[in-house]
Symmetry: C2
Subunit: 300 residues, 2 copies
């Protein structure tokens, strides 16, 4: 079976792995990424790590997941807040020349969705939409095994979708942007506003208060269900996916909101699409597996 | 050059044409569709018309555009309001067996978008979103030359996307659904409500009143610009198209709203996507040309 080099590059850490076509990790190396020290240091370190992978020459391609939007055609980052100096840097080209095999770059949320689409819950399906709900909200559309990153690498960047115009302005995102209304950060913020005298360290505390019957907490969670239900209904109007796969830290509380989200999705959708499955992401290591799937997704 | 049979089947009329791979109509037959008389009559008539096309045996495949959502994998209609009896009918299979060549079925809005994507304004681009604004609002996402119809054929059925929760309930669609707020029908309705003493036969009358400086009419058109701007911003978050192509009857007034729509789109979108082009559909006959492109889109 063919193997690929998958790289999960963050601002702090980096992992490099040799992964089979069906998503099994057969070797890996971890270490600091030196992300703040600029491309020369980061790339030098990365190349050394790739050479530590046993029989790396047998691999058929390299895929890299990075934080932020990517121009997938050029193999460059469009914005690189966590990796200073990498905006426009010829990342994929440099790896391809150095190691003599095709190399591809994509956003880390996109590659996680790609992993779920190709070797996880979406295996064998043609239209997969992956949504990650954690401190932020992101996603990716995968059609026939290929991420739809679009013209500027913003495909699937659903954080800024407006679900209600009548909300407060929170940050640079649109008023009523889904990320500011239903992410973990948003639920924590709403909890702190509703309970100024209580300790609300994270969204889980608001779920706990709702479980205990607190009406203000229940209202926050009910609002989240409606907001996310509308988000999924909107996405379904655009691409009617075969499956919604949901990942991210908030999924550990999925039993407390997902049934309500699906109910709201149905209330805002044509009956014909009511059987669209909502499935929690299943892979343990989608980031690095999805990176390794990038060459496959690109026809290698 | 290869040729294909394109069929544009409506409830009242049907057209059958022989069309080249690059979208030139080389022969065509028109007539009544007998759409209300059931599948046997409709299909019998259609087969006769195909046989009237000179050298139809030289064609490499058949594509059909029909009104309503389609299960493209099965080649069947999911809903057939204007073609009674066709829900679930093995449409593509029957044509394929009868004429000994591959046959495909898709929604008429989808095939119009496919034509614009493959041989119109989207030629050569990988991610194209086509929006039709007429009495209703529809659309289609085309990725790498293939319509993304999705699990139930509802991909691109954007009419029901909620752009503002704080609107009146109009019909079976969601409160605040874009079709009820920014289609030709919606602008006409709003015009009649705002001007009970005036004759408002169509949306054009509201544009004329706005042109003449009427503040109520200007408010209606400004609202339409914001609603459509939000729609396009939402779609861009999902798939970040290389181009938005806009078709449908309302485009004849495009100079009166499209610049404002683009301005609103930018106000609700990340700066990186501000250069996304908005282009008016250019093909004279997208319905039948797109139908003929269905085999190409499906790899024939």
């Amino acid at each position: 079976m063919r193997t690929f080099i998958g790289i999960d590059l963050g601002g702090t850490n980096v992992r490099v792995a040799k992964i089979t076509e069906d998503g099994q990790i057969v070797a890996q190396v971890k270490g600091p990424s030196y992300g703040t020290e600029g491309p020369e240091k980061v790339m030098g370190n990365l190349k050394e790590m790739i050479r530590e992978i046993p029989d790396w020459r047998e691999c058929s391609g390299i895929g890299v997941g990075v934080p932020g939007p990517v121009n997938t055609k050029a193999g460059t980052m469009v914005l690189s807040t966590n990796l200073p100096g990498f905006t426009g840097y010829p990342f994929a080209d440099e790896l391809s020349k150095e190691f003599g095999m095709p190399a591809f770059l994509d956003n880390d949320a996109n590659v996680a969705g790609l992993a779920e689409a190709l070797v996880g819950a979406g295996k064998g399906l043609s239209t997969v939409f992956y949504v990650t709900i954690s401190t932020g909200i992101g996603g990716v559309l995968v059609v026939d095994g290929k991420t739809v990153s679009g013209k500027h690498g913003f495909g699937g960047e659903i954080a800024n979708i407006i679900i209600d115009r009548d909300r407060e302005k929170v940050n640079y995102l649109n008023v009523g942007a889904i990320e500011n209304e239903a992410s973990g950060t948003a639920i924590t913020r709403k909890g702190r506003e509703a309970f100024p005298d209580k300790d609300v360290p994270h969204a889980g505390a608001v779920f706990d208060l709702a479980d205990a019957g607190d009406e203000k907490a229940i209202a926050i969670i009910d609002g989240m269900k409606k907001d996310l239900g509308q988000l999924f209904a909107t996405i379904a109007c655009v691409c009617d996916p075969d499956i919604f796969i949901i990942g991210g830290g908030m999924t550990k509380s999925a039993d407390k909101f997902l049934p309500g989200v699906i109910e709201q999705f149905k209330a805002m959708s044509h009956q014909a699409v009511h059987d669209t499955p909502f499935v929690i992401a299943t892979l343990d290591e989608p980031g690095i597996i999805g990176a390794a799937m990038l060459p496959v997704s690109n026809g290698i």
